[in-house]
């Protein structure tokens, strides 16, 4: 970690951080920040983690034991039961989609967040050996990933709002909520803001937390590098290690909490869509 930091510290810490925050990009919009740019690292890593989940599911269900579950099956079952409990607690209706959706969000987000705990320079370094010079290893530090999930949840919310309340009922919510029928224009603005704020806050919260966490890891990684070679290294390097471990331990809590919050809010938003009496 400190080695890479030391190497790039010649070019300045700003460059180091910017380098780390640049996605591996393919497409016409990459240089200009345009729309047509594929963030290959985000897509590939998140897809790999998704595949890991599906593979795990297949492996567990292929030889699962009904009577006496083994160690790994127990682990998967406990996650399942945890998600099931959360759904039962905060979802009022009956919908077969909610539980798999919540499970996917929780596990996938957690795994993507977990990439944050891998030393910040390790994966870019390995990628560098294969000629890939930009790699942002944590998919959830890419706004596209978090907003993609938030938007999907938002679309589902609108879909179930209309399905449960009817189109008229959904529009009525915009017209007469929260101030009653005498303040219709204000109601429309307020409800629209409220509805739009849901997916935005959902996506931005996760993104912000992960981005900030990643940034702190980078700053810690810079400590040893900033001192360069000299007597200062004796002080800075141990400090870097201690801080890194402390932030790592704290971050385990953060990634789990963020995955949990994303899941619970998804359940709550969809639950609100399912209650007719708003």
């Amino acid at each position: 970690m400190s080695e890479a930091a030391a190497n790039s510290s010649g070019g300045g810490t700003v460059e180091y951080i910017q380098h780390h925050l640049t996605n591996l990009c393919v497409g016409s919009g990459c240089e200009t920040g345009g729309f047509m740019s594929w963030h290959i690292d985000t897509i590939v890593i998140s897809a790999l983690l998704g595949a890991l989940i599906v593979f795990t599911g297949m492996r567990v269900t292929r030889n699962m034991a009904t009577d006496v579950p083994g160690g790994f099956q127990n682990f998967v079952e406990s996650i399942l039961e945890f998600v099931q409990g959360s759904v039962k607690d905060s979802f009022p209706g009956e919908n077969k989609l909610i539980a798999p959706l919540a499970l996917t969000i929780f596990v996938w987000v957690w795994l993507m967040n977990f990439m944050d705990l891998i030393p910040v320079d390790l994966l870019p370094l390995i990628a560098g050996w294969f000629g890939i010079h930009y790699l942002k290893a944590v998919p959830t530090t890419d706004l596209n990933t978090t907003l993609a999930m938030a938007l999907t949840v938002f679309i589902l919310t609108i879909f179930y709002n209309i399905k449960v309340k009817g189109l008229g009922g959904y529009l009525k919510m915009f017209l007469f909520h929260p101030f009653g029928k005498f303040a219709v224009p204000a109601n429309i603005v307020m409800t629209a803001i409220e509805e739009v704020a849901k997916p935005l806050s959902l996506g931005l919260r996760l993104f912000g937390n992960m981005f900030a966490g990643e940034l702190v890891f980078m700053l810690i990684a810079l400590l040893g590098g900033a001192a360069a070679i000299g007597a200062g290294l004796l002080i800075w390097f141990p400090l870097q290690v201690v801080l890194d471990v402390a932030w790592l331990i704290f971050h385990i809590l953060v990634i789990t909490l963020q995955a949990f919050i994303f899941m619970v809010l998804t359940i709550v938003y969809l639950g609100m869509a399912h209650t007719t009496d708003h």
């Binding site: 925050l21 996605n23 497409g27 919009g29 920040g33 345009g34 729309f35 047509m36 740019s37 594929w38 963030h39 985000t42 897509i43 998140s46 897809a47 998704g50 989940i53 599906v54 795990t56 599911g57 297949m58 567990v60 269900t61 699962m64 009904t66 009577d67 998967v76 079952e77 399942l80 039961e81 099931q84 989609l97 539980a99 798999p100 959706l101 499970l103 996917t104 596990v107 996938w108 998919p139 890419d142 706004l143 596209n144 990933t145 907003l147 993609a148 999930m149 938007l151 999907t152």
Partner: protein, 156 residues
């Protein structure tokens, strides 16, 4: 940090993943767990039923035991009664038999006595005659005093 086409790629990936997770993880596992729940519930119900049945059986066994005890004591009482009856009967029989034997013996004795008396009676006349003949050889004629002698013999 820009919103790009990656957003839509990630949306598609997310939707696909939800479907895959449901297909390969959630559905089979939750079905299995539900089946297990049902099995456990069934097992508990069966255990409770078994316990209940056991209690019933215990109760029944107790009742049977009490009944058997009553019956056995009844049988014992009957047997004792019968035994004493038999003893009484045997005693009665013995008494009757004893009396019969005693009577037989008495009758035998009487008969013997009579026989002896008859025999004696038959002989007494001759002996008396012989004795008297010897004493009063000449004075008494057997023929002339036979009536007297016979009377004497009868009186014995």
């Amino acid at each position: 940090m820009n919103i790009t086409i990656t957003l839509f790629a990630q949306m598609i990936a997310f939707i696909a993943l939800v479907w895959l997770v449901n297909r390969y993880m959630w559905a089979p596992l939750s079905a299995m767990m539900e089946a297990r729940q049902k099995r456990i519930a069934d097992g508990l119900a069966a255990a409770e039923k078994g316990q209940h049945e056991q209690q019933l059986a215990e109760k029944r066994a107790k009742e049977t035991l009490v009944e058997a005890k009553n019956q056995s004591s009844e049988i014992i009482a009957q047997a004792q009664k019968r035994a004493s009856e038999m003893v009484e009967e045997a005693k009665g029989n013995a008494r009757v038999e004893g009396e019969r034997i005693l009577n037989g013996a008495k009758a035998e004795i009487d008969r013997e006595v009579n026989q002896a008396r008859e025999a004696l009676r038959a002989q007494v006349a001759d002996v008396a005659m012989a004795a008297a003949g010897k004493v009063i050889k000449r004075e008494i004629n057997a023929d002339a005093h036979s009536d007297l002698l016979n009377d004497l013999a009868k009186q014995i």
